[in-house]
Amino acid sequence: MISTNDCKVIKIFNLSDDQLVELSKNNALYLSLVEMQAIQCYFKKLKRDPTDVEIETIAQTWSEHCKHKTLTGPVDYTEISPVLSYKNSGVKKDSNSSHITYTTVKKRYDNLLKETIFKATVELNKKWCLSVFNDNAGIIDFDSKNGVAFKVETHNHPSALEPYGGAATGMGGVIRDILGVGLGAKPLANTDVFCFGNPTTKISKIPAGIHHPKRIMSGVVSGVRDYGNRMGIPTVNGAVYFDDGYMANPLVFCGTMGIIPKNKIAKKVVSGDFILVVGGKTGRDGIHGATFSSARLESKSDVNAVQIGNPIIEKKVLDAMLKARDLNLYRGVTDCGAGGLSSAIGELGEKTGAIVYLDKVPLKYDGLHPWEIWVSEAQERMVFAVPPENKEKIIEIFKKEDVEAVVVGKFTNDEKLTIMYNDNVVVNIDMSFLHNGVPRPIRCAVYKIREEKVQKPIKMGSSEILKVLKASLSDLNVCSREWIIRQYDHEVQGQTIVKPLHGNGIEVSGPGDAAIIFPYTVVKGTKKGIVLANGLNPQYGKVNTYKMAASAIEESLRNAVSVGADIEKISILDNFCWGNPNNPEILGSLVRAAKACYDMSKAFGVPFISGKDSLHNEYSMKGKKYSIPPVLMISAMGIIKNVENTVTMPLKAEGNKIFVLGVTRNELGGSVFTKIKNIKNGIIPDVYPKESKIIMKKIYHAISKKLIESCHDCCEGGIAVAISEMAFAANKGVKIDIDVIKTEKVDLLTAVEILFSESNGRFVVEVKPDNQAEFIEIFKGSIFSEVGYVMDEKRVIFESKKNGIYVQEKPEVLLNFWRSTLTGG
């Protein structure tokens, strides 16, 4: 191969290790020395130097973003735990802990993902899992003819640099994942979860080179809004989490769920099929997006790595491609996401080989180098494998809807990737090297389990409790997200029958636990629904990533179950956002979370069907490196047999009884309460899957028999917040007796601790007096109690006669506390 004006040959034969590292750095390849050596070695075997297009192709394919080298690589893990276990209670641990001894356990993982998360799915072996971890999204069974696909992606670095564009293309990208799963699914709903710094931070406190969290938040929300709304896909579920650890490195998770006929789930690319590029033109935007995701954010990070979105082009692609799909005009499709054409064609042609004529790719403007065309992450592009006989027909379908569709090459049978540019060969490498040649170095991981201490017993008078309740409701991590939710068209397509905000009329609104889509326009005559929920709590991860992961999983399940999902028909998705995995302690905390994923998935019987990790979430300021507080965000998707048997969270009618299901433990660690009162100690909530799962099964049973009027899960802010929300969402009164709430041992918790503990496994439900007996019969054997009733009088009352506590407030006052924190502006 020879250097031309467009394409340079890069001499690497004689480069020293230092020079290899230098080459990687100067070209923003983000490849390690070992990886550069592997490339050098490969081309020595070929007896020639690589071109810049080849180097870029390999860097993109081997990027953390595309290859997930850490999660699928070998890890040497060491776990150090205190011998004196605080487990199960945290009762009498006021002894001085300075003499604690530690034990060490070591384990070698050859492929962390396969031995934890994926392993659980394999062992659970659910028949209704149709496609897991091997396509652009996971697919589960919906009915005899259809499956539903779900995928959640992150777009963190782009959103830090350019919040609007980064979030919009994050949304656009995950929608294309759903268009590119199997032979294409029809998107039915979007989800979004964000982590930001505190939006009320003073400008003077914001470090140089980063956007103010308020600007990031409003940019991100607008980006998701404009892309989702224009695509005609309702954004129905989400969460926002505020912590200053996300000030410089915000997290943006975007999810899409879609429906796909079961006979369109398999792709089959055949040698001789044309490579058809459809949709947007290619430009210089988003160059190095894939490799950039392995980089640390710095004040001088390159904004050109951010893509530019145009939702209407994607909408046209969606409209036209589903027509082509139903006419069976193509055999394979995938989206151009990170890594652009390089990634899409490389993936589709992995088993066959492919030849591509880069000069045929439609460009936005002249002047792009071949490598730029090849790795550009310009948006709204899909790649199809089209049998030669269907070429004219499929192009005609796209043309009718004003969508550009151009054949740029074909799939071969030589198992090589060949790229031509103006009659010159610019790439000629083996698919096997490209996809399997990446070295697998062993990484070190260490996790030291921290000892947790119970806080000193907390006692307060009624007026102070009320103050804390109000502060909890207006806390950034509890307060209303209405400002965001109403900017999203969460009802387009008309199928959102359980919406993000719940009320008994159209005016008063409380926070729903999960959303339900009733796909009546796609599956005619169906009664089934799809529930979407999520769970995360980064606060817990600061102390214990196992408990954080376990809690996130349980929270997502509780949310889904609260609206009527069947725990036996729920699947989950993992999204890991972590700091730099080259730091053994950070990687150790990830391994520990992955272990929790395995344990919980098995114990609850809920399989993981898809996932994504975003590592290297770190930033440097004044020469110092900071990693984000790690997050495991869990998305849950369940199938509901009959959408009529679903419930919302507002209280329904005066005279109905209130029950708390599950045990309240002394678990205030990481809680909203300890944050407000600035208490350092406290046990992080643990998960008791056996106990919880039975309750979840019983709730489903009771909802199916129409015995439950309303249901809400207890999470941030505990029972006090959950019950207040149910009351103000309905503008109804409620009277609660704190003394009868079931705790793990009598008198172990103070009234305040009972109200604000964030123990997992708990629900608040409302039951009609007529149904009470049957309801109690179902829950026999589980821990629960009747704690109060819905009142005529519009007051929320929490009473403990034992402690002389009587807290009362009007629901509308509590509503206002909940509503007034986040108002955009």
Binding site: N229, M231, G232, K316, Q487, V492, G494, L501, I506, Y520
Partner: protein
């Protein structure tokens, strides 16, 4: 009996076509979703094969320039005579949300005989997109005189959801506003639960005189910002309220009225 035929006109960025199709089909009509390109390329009088024309919600052409503007111009420039003839023959026409914006911007509303833009739908006063349920008051006179063929058999106040960023209805001048009132062309106004004048957010966009939907004098052309196709079933209501019979929502009545009218 011959089935009523509905043409749902779509373009790049149209979103609510499937649920609108479902609503008409539920009321017994046969529906074709037709892309504007194929309507323009096809036989010249294809539109006359249909009884009802529906312009659904969405973001036609991305709402570039202004909401509905590009599609309005395209229809007016390329289909002008045919669409006007279709309307003046008395065929029911509905424009929902983006469809309403298109109807107003090409001048089919409020006066198809004039066929000029004399009103607009501008940015919400809140300056942001609003997705929420509202109360709509059905103007008494219209109801009694059945001026608008789409809104018969509705109670005084109904619920429907809105979802738009540009829904503030404004007329070119006071005279036009007065004539709309005088001619019973105001079909829906945003209201409180009891039918009184609402404040934000129950009036989600700041429309003059809380106008949510209007029709032409004859009553066959109806444009509204709220989405009746999203309240076909009781299940779709936030509190699952239903209309007279247990299963359906008030939105269904609106589509049923047009289908019955043709029959």
């Amino acid at each position: 009996m011959k089935k009523v035929k509905v043409l749902i006109l779509r373009a790049a960025g149209t979103n609510c076509d499937y649920e609108t199709q479902f609503a008409f089909e539920l009321c017994g009509a046969v529906v074709d979703r037709v892309h504007i390109n194929s309507l323009l390329a096809g036989r010249k009088d294809k539109i006359f094969e249909y009884d009802i024309l529906a312009l659904p919600g969405g973001f036609s052409y991305g709402d570039d320039i202004a909401s509905g503007r590009v599609l309005a111009n395209e229809i007016k420039n390329k289909l002008s005579d045919r669409i006007r003839k279709f309307v003046l023959r008395g065929n029911p026409v509905i424009g929902i949300c983006n469809g309403f914006q298109v109807l107003v911007k090409m001048g089919l509303l409020p006066d198809p005989e004039l066929f000029e833009q004399i009103a607009t739908l501008s940015y919400n006063s809140s300056n942001k997109f609003e997705c929420r349920w509202v109360y709509l008051k059905i103007e008494k006179k219209i109801k009694n005189e059945s001026n608008c063929i789409w809104t018969k058999n509705l109670p005084n106040v109904i619920n429907l959801p809105v979802a738009h960023g540009e829904g503030k209805f404004i007329t070119k001048n006071q005279k036009i506003l007065k004539s709309l009132n005088r001619n019973n062309q105001i079909v829906f106004r945003y209201s409180t639960k009891d039918g009184n004048k609402p404040a934000y957010p129950l009036c989600p966009n700041g429309s003059i005189q809380q106008i949510a939907g209007i029709c032409n004098i004859k009553g066959n052309v109806f444009g509204l910002m709220p989405h009746p196709e999203r309240y076909i079933f009781a299940l779709q209501h936030p509190a699952r309220e239903c209309c007279a019979d247990k299963k359906y929502g008030w939105g269904k009545i609106i589509f049923q009225n047009a289908v019955d009218f043709v029959e």
